[in-house]
């Protein structure tokens, strides 16, 4: 068979394909990866020779199409009963009429609808953000700033609590306005030359702080700042303003400290 000979010819002339282009154009186009199928054939990519990767497509099961298919007579549904019929199958967790597991176990605990949860924010995150340039050292950092910088999760319930993980290495001066802060975090921030102000926003106020666009889009006014409930009031320094004040005021740092 002259197959070997042919292949030799083909591989020799594969280089000349590119040569032709070099004559046609000033600088040759690269032709290395256009023909991946075989070295001898130069295949133009066109609509008639596209294909997906092998194994990329699932084929539909053809039910009830004879014994040879394995899904013939009962179409894989087994014999008579609820499962063999059309329509909705029994709901998840239904055990055929027997008391299901989730009802057998006794009730335990309770749900507090008034619980207040703070989303944690660690000093380590802040340190990294400043190093990456997401936050500017020496500026006022509100929860809005943190949200825009992508340091907070998308959904925040009641506010942010600053926590002290990474406190020993924290050295960026930031004037932070967050809902709550742990003692170690406050100490670390002040050691670095910054300040922490605990500001109160209620849930609506927090939404107006983080997503003022929503109010503008709905043509609504921003809500007025709410006072904290008396029981929570001692935990906060100031009532958060809307829109937030992001200029360092002379007395602010002193008041916070």
């Amino acid at each position: 068979m002259p197959a070997d000979l042919l292949e030799g010819l083909i591989s020799k002339s594969a280089a000349s394909t590119q040569c032709r282009y070099s004559l046609q154009n000033m600088r040759p186009f690269s032709g290395g990866h256009a023909s991946t199928s075989s070295p001898g054939e130069r295949e133009f990519i066109a609509l008639n020779n596209l294909s997906d990767n092998p194994g990329a497509t699932h084929y539909k099961k053809r039910l009830g199409r004879g014994i040879g298919s394995g899904l013939g007579k009962t179409s894989g549904r087994g014999h008579k009963g609820q499962g063999a019929r059309t329509g909705r199958s029994p709901k998840l967790g239904f055990e055929g009429g027997q008391t299901p597991l989730r009802q057998r176990a006794p009730k335990r605990g309770f749900h507090n609808p008034h619980a207040v949860t703070w989303d944690p924010l660690n000093l380590k995150t802040l340190q990294e953000a400043v190093e990456k340039g997401q936050l500017q050292p020496g500026t006022v950092v509100t929860m809005k700033t943190l949200y825009d910088a992508g340091l907070l999760s998308k959904k925040i319930d009641h506010g942010i609590k600053l926590l002290g993980t990474g406190a020993e290495k924290f050295n960026k001066p930031l004037h932070l306005q967050v809902s709550q802060a742990s003692a170690s975090a406050v100490a670390a921030v002040e050691r670095a030359g910054g300040s922490v102000t605990k500001v109160y926003y209620n849930k609506l106020g927090l939404r107006a702080l983080l997503k003022p666009d929503w109010f503008a889009r709905k043509q609504r006014l921003l809500p007025r700042p709410a006072r904290p409930p008396p029981a929570m009031a001692p935990k906060f320094d100031v009532i958060g303003s809307l829109p937030p004040v992001s200029v360092i005021q002379p007395g602010a740092a002193v008041a916070a400290a």
Binding site: S16, Y21, M26, F29, A34, F44, I45, S51
Partner: protein, 286 residues
């Protein structure tokens, strides 16, 4: 313009017969089969092999000549490697083409079920005593003139495809044309006067070696001086010749035609568009 169509057909038939006669030394490309044996090209000493091996590196920029309509080199343009020299993923191209075709499918197909076929409300005969089979309707599926079970219904055939995949598909299609040497950059696509005859001659001068002038021309937009309305008018009756603005450049239209002609400004706008990323969160929310 039927004469043009005939002329094109004649050219095509001549090209095919030509390739059949001298398969080894023919200069033209095979038309019907897109698989082209490398034997077709005349073996010649490989010049500038080192330069090629540098350029072949994936991701490197391609420097291409810029032509005018008379195929005179008027400059040079750099096609960025991240768009015009990416690994060609045939599977991605396939997915994008399938997505495009599915999206444009009208989906107006319908058969009538037994409830939609006219008549059939009355029970044909009594349930028992007639000696005949039980029937509830004359339009049941097993009867002549009855309804169709699970027939086609009017629906959209559209399915989703990730934006990143669509973008990659366009890059692959552009790369395919560039690596095949079937991409030409032109400084201006203006046709003056806006006559089909003029454009036909210009295309003939620009791509002299191409027997069947199956071409996609991409200019920057519908109302700019590099192409624009004049080009569209002139090209509207040329067979196998399409014109698109760069905003409308798509995988299907590119692969449908053999050759791709881009104006210089279209290349720049296309590159700018393909490099755009999703705006940052901070920009959108403030």
């Amino acid at each position: 313009m039927n004469c043009l169509r005939d002329k094109a057909r004649l050219l095509l038939s001549r090209a095919v017969s030509c390739t059949q006669r001298s398969s080894c030394l023919s200069q033209g490309w095979a038309r019907h089969s897109h698989t082209l044996p490398a034997l077709r090209f005349h073996t010649c000493p490989v010049a500038g092999d080192t330069a090629q091996s540098v350029d072949r590196f994936q991701g490197s920029n391609l420097r291409v000549p810029v032509f005018n309509w008379r195929r005179e080199v008027v400059g040079e343009h750099t096609l960025p490697g991240d768009i015009f020299n990416v690994p060609i993923r045939k599977d991605i191209l396939h997915r994008v083409v399938r997505w495009q075709l599915a999206k444009r499918q009208q989906g107006t197909h319908k058969t009538k079920t037994r409830s939609e076929v006219r008549g059939g409300g009355r029970k044909p005969h009594s349930q028992k005593g007639s000696g005949r089979a039980r029937f509830g309707s004359i339009r049941a599926a097993q009867r002549r003139g009855g309804g169709i079970i699970f027939g086609p219904v009017v629906r959209s055939h559209e399915h989703g495809l990730q934006k990143k995949v669509r973008k990659l598909g366009l890059k692959c299609a552009l790369t395919a044309k560039a690596t095949e040497g079937r991409l030409t950059v032109v400084d201006s696509l203006a046709v003056d006067p806006p006559k089909t005859k003029v454009l036909d001659e210009q295309l003939h001068a620009l791509l002299p070696d191409v027997p069947r002038r199956s071409i996609l021309i991409i200019d920057s937009s519908k109302d700019t001086s590099d192409g624009g309305d004049n080009l569209r008018k002139a090209a509207s009756n040329l067979p196998w010749t399409d014109v698109l603005p760069q905003g409308g450049a798509n995988v299907y239209s590119i692969l449908q035609r053999d050759n791709l002609i881009l104006s210089r400004s279209a290349v720049d706008l296309l590159v700018e568009r393909l490099r755009q990323t999703r705006p940052l969160k901070a920009e959108t929310s403030s």
